[in-house]
Amino acid sequence: MEIALQQIVNGLTIGAFYALIALGYTMVYGIIRLINFAHGDIYAVGAFVGFSTYGLLALLHVESPILTTLLALVVSMGLTGLLGTLVYRVAYRPLLHARLSILISAIGASLTLEYSLLLIYSPSFLVYPHLFGRAGPSFAGVSVSWLQILIFVSSIVLMAAIYFIVNRTKTGMAMRALAINQDAARLMGVNVSRVISFTFFLGSTLASFAGVLTGLYYSQISFLMGFLIGLKAFTAAVLGGIGNIPGAVVGGFMLGILESLAAGYYSSRWKDVVAFAVLILVLVVRPRGLLGERVVERM
């Protein structure tokens, strides 16, 4: 029993990361129908910017782990958020109506980000400062660390913030309007480009938050770290219903738990096959994803 609980805890942890990144995919897809291949690499950039911030603060002899972490998060989210909008402006905006060409541009952006990180930092992986140990409460034989709890709680808080922004603010309404019909929204006075930029900004801040937390929790960052997790997060977004914000969260956690249970009870090397098989099954039975999609079919 405790093994099962431990696996669920494991799954929720990785699921939180998936969910944070999946939100960026789902928001962008909801608005402009683009699978943003570069989004996983934004997550990586966030981790590296955080790393540099820690380094800089260390040089300035700032000691407190809480202060440095807060600063690293703020700096990373701000800068990486802006980078996300820059990528949109440069690589995506001119191609919004060319569905396949914009995909290639996204792939190009992804490669550019990855190999820029390689050249600026290192081809090898970098190690984050070991700031927070693994101390934590343990119940029913399951070990949880405070850091894990922090990750889970802060992810939920951030996702709630996104939900709030999208559903309770004017900009959020503009985002939803764009998702339904871009031309009508423009006619209603929505500054399409600015709203899309903001969407990219939001998604990128979440991804970079996940990036810094990855560095803190796993201690390891590398220039290709965004590739695999980006794929998984996109899968999670689709699982929950693409374009659906709560769906991305549900999809993320579900995928994390699914993977954990598959690895724990079936086989580690087959877990991704299980995850994809379940995804395909879910989509066949519920073609709109678990919570249903929020993107109108465009004719």
């Binding site: 696996q7 190999y115 070990s143 660390s145 201690s219 390891q220 695999l228 580690s268």
Partner: protein
């Protein structure tokens, strides 16, 4: 107009880019170094090229070989079979006298067929999968040991020194790691009183192995042996301790990099690593290390010394054969006997493997690899 311009530029670009690299042997003697320079293994590739360059430069400072200067020609094989084959063709066409390098076994093995067809010597510095030399190509040599030697050695250490009764083996489904894992499992199967309770793979590129390690924990192993590469190794080490898995953790020689210790932090103390002796523990390598750090301002990688010796062995062959002809180099390499390299004495057996490869086990203490008393 824009279209014409774009297409024309493209054409010019393509044509000019394809032409260089095709040439006969000129005044320099070229040695090919195919390694991953992009992708996840880029750092290893860079370490290897740096070592090769250093070896060539040192020889050039002594007047080169047969009065000609040495030139290192390195191409990216991206650890991919097809790219390795293409890189191999390119090196052959560039007129290399011999090839010394390679990292991933999965790239080296297909490429070795190309070198074989072209009659070019291929000295592998880091590809440890047995199949490379088992193919029976007379032009293939190997300076590193074989995984089917390391496996039985590891099995022996686990049972005799660590008294393991239950062993968990984790690999990462790459050619090298699975090969080492299988060799270890096979050796353990032949022994009495020990059982392999877990044999499965994690996915490289991922970071979270807690699900797999939780499963391992539930099996209560005495020793867990991780045979993958050090980026994942460091993560496995950290999560192994965090989850409180029982028993000792051991890792294969692809984890003999200091960043493994850095990644795992304080939890790495007490972890065992099987490996050929690291350069710092071989008297022969001390000079190499100081020259390398002096030149490149960074520590040598785990395979730098081996690459340095691979190039050295080729140079030595050329000197003995008094020729830079490809066939002559192969013949001379086959006759290599007790060449004094940074990694010790090198002699090749009939298959091209290095004889008397020594494996030892390190234990991590503080932040260093310390050899265990054998």
């Amino acid at each position: 107009m824009r279209n014409v311009f774009a297409v024309a530029t493209l054409l010019v670009f393509l044509i000019t880019g394809m032409v260089p690299g095709v040439g006969a042997q000129g005044a320099t003697i070229k040695i090919g170094v195919p390694v991953p320079l992009s992708g996840g293994n880029a750092k290893m590739g860079t370490d290897i090229v740096q070592a090769a360059t250093m070896a060539a430069d040192e020889q050039n400072a002594k007047g080169g070989v047969l009065g000609r200067k040495l030139e290192i020609v390195s191409f990216d094989d991206a650890c991919d079979a097809q790219q390795a084959v293409t890189a191999a063709h390119k090196l052959v066409d560039a007129g290399v006298a011999a090839v010394a390098g390679g990292y991933c076994s999965s790239a080296a093995i297909p490429a070795s067929a190309v070198y074989h067809d072209a009659g070019v010597a291929f000295v592998a510095d880091a590809s440890s999968n047995p199949k490379l030399t088992d193919q029976g190509f007379e032009n293939v040599f190997r300076v590193i040991g074989r995984d089917d030697q390391q496996g039985p050695y590891a099995a022996g250490f686990m049972t005799k020194d660590l008294h393991a009764k239950k062993v968990a083996i984790i690999h990462d489904n790459t050619l090298y790691a699975k090969g080492l894992a299988t060799a270890t499992q096979d050796a353990l199967k032949k022994m009495m009183g020990v059982q392999v309770v877990f044999f499965d793979a994690i996915t490289p590129g991922e970071k979270d192995f807690s699900a797999t390690l939780t499963k391992v924990k539930s099996l209560n192993p005495d020793v867990t042996y991780f045979t993958g590469y050090y980026p994942e190794g460091g993560l496995v080490c950290k999560q192994f301790k965090d989850l409180g898995v029982s028993g000792k953790l051991m890792a294969g020689d692809a984890n003999n990099d200091p960043t493994f210790i850095k990644e795992c932090g304080a939890a790495s103390t007490g972890v065992y690593i099987t490996s050929t002796p690291l350069p710092q523990d071989q008297g022969t390598a001390k000079a190499f290390i100081s020259r390398y750090t002096g030149r490149w301002k960074q520590d040598p990688g785990p395979y730098s010394a081996l690459e340095y010796d691979s190039v050295g062995v080729v140079i030595n062959a050329m000197q003995r054969a008094k020729s830079a002809d490809r066939a002559a180099i192969i013949k001379a390499l086959q006759a290599t006997s007790a060449y004094s390299g940074a990694t010790g004495k090198i002699t090749f057996d009939k298959k091209g493997d290095r004889v008397q490869v020594l494996y030892i086990t390190y234990i991590i203490k503080g932040d260093k690899f310390v050899p265990t008393g054998m």
